[in-house]
Amino acid sequence: MSQQALVASAAGDDPAAGLRAVRALRELADRLETLQVERARRLGWSWQEIAEALGVSRQAVHKKHHRRI
């Protein structure tokens, strides 16, 4: 079995590894969202446009990001 396959099967069997992956994915998504929202604002996107692209309400995206940007 290749090392990758070993890693993949470990992720499948072991709840600890699977949950750890979910946590890492969430963290990665949060970081990418921060970078993308910052950039979109700099390029002149409105909060409404960003919210639509993210599939959330304008209030939600504004509340989450306006203080950082």
Partner: protein, 180 residues
């Protein structure tokens, strides 16, 4: 409880926050406190080095260990088919060098306060108890070190994994922690 901490013990608690922030940790455990104590000049650092611990090496191992607790875990992502190096490379192409780390800091920076784990809180309480037991009126870094290593804990494990004689270090810390 903190009003009985010496200035040096208080700054260890503050520095533990700094260690946690640098490592992108979600929580502060005993290892962050241990790094802060080992890096600051005080009775804890003295007890460690007099007890034969290579303090620089301890700090390096502790920082590596807490960084491995970063939520953005390359191993966990690889297990679901995501190559973090590749994501980093593509992200930096658009957002500049170190963009993902910077975004992590932006996310953490929003929180003024990184919480202590229950284990780390217990260590602080144990430090108070050690001070009372030794008849000291103030809680200094030596008492914090005693609190951190009293029972089975991440800080104690880190020390013993590095080959430290924990009981000897505790004995030295006790010596500096008795009421004058």
């Amino acid at each position: 409880m903190f009003e009985r901490f010496t200035k040096e013990a208080r700054s260890a608690v503050v520095d533990a926050q700094r260690v946690a922030r640098a490592a992108h940790s979600d929580q502060i455990d005993g290892r962050h406190l241990l790094v802060a104590l080992a890096e600051g000049a005080g009775p804890a650092r003295t007890a460690l080095s007099d007890g034969g611990v290579d303090v620089a090496e301890l700090v390096r191992r502790a920082r590596t260990a807490v960084e491995a607790g970063d939520a953005l875990d390359p191993g966990a992502l690889a297990a679901v088919g995501i190559d973090l190096d590749e994501v980093t490379r593509r992200t930096e192409a658009t957002f500049g060098e170190g963009a993902l780390s910077r975004a992590g800091r932006v996310l953490r920076g929003r929180r003024k306060h990184i919480p202590f784990t229950p284990d780390a809180k217990k260590s602080l309480e144990l430090a108070l108890r050690e001070a009372v037991r030794l008849g000291a009126r103030e809680i200094h870094g030596g008492h914090l070190l005693l609190g951190l290593t009293r029972g089975e804990s991440p800080a104690r494990r880190l020390l013993s994994d590095g080959g430290a004689d924990v009981e000897r270090v505790r004995h030295l810390a006790e010596g500096s922690s008795r009421a004058a």
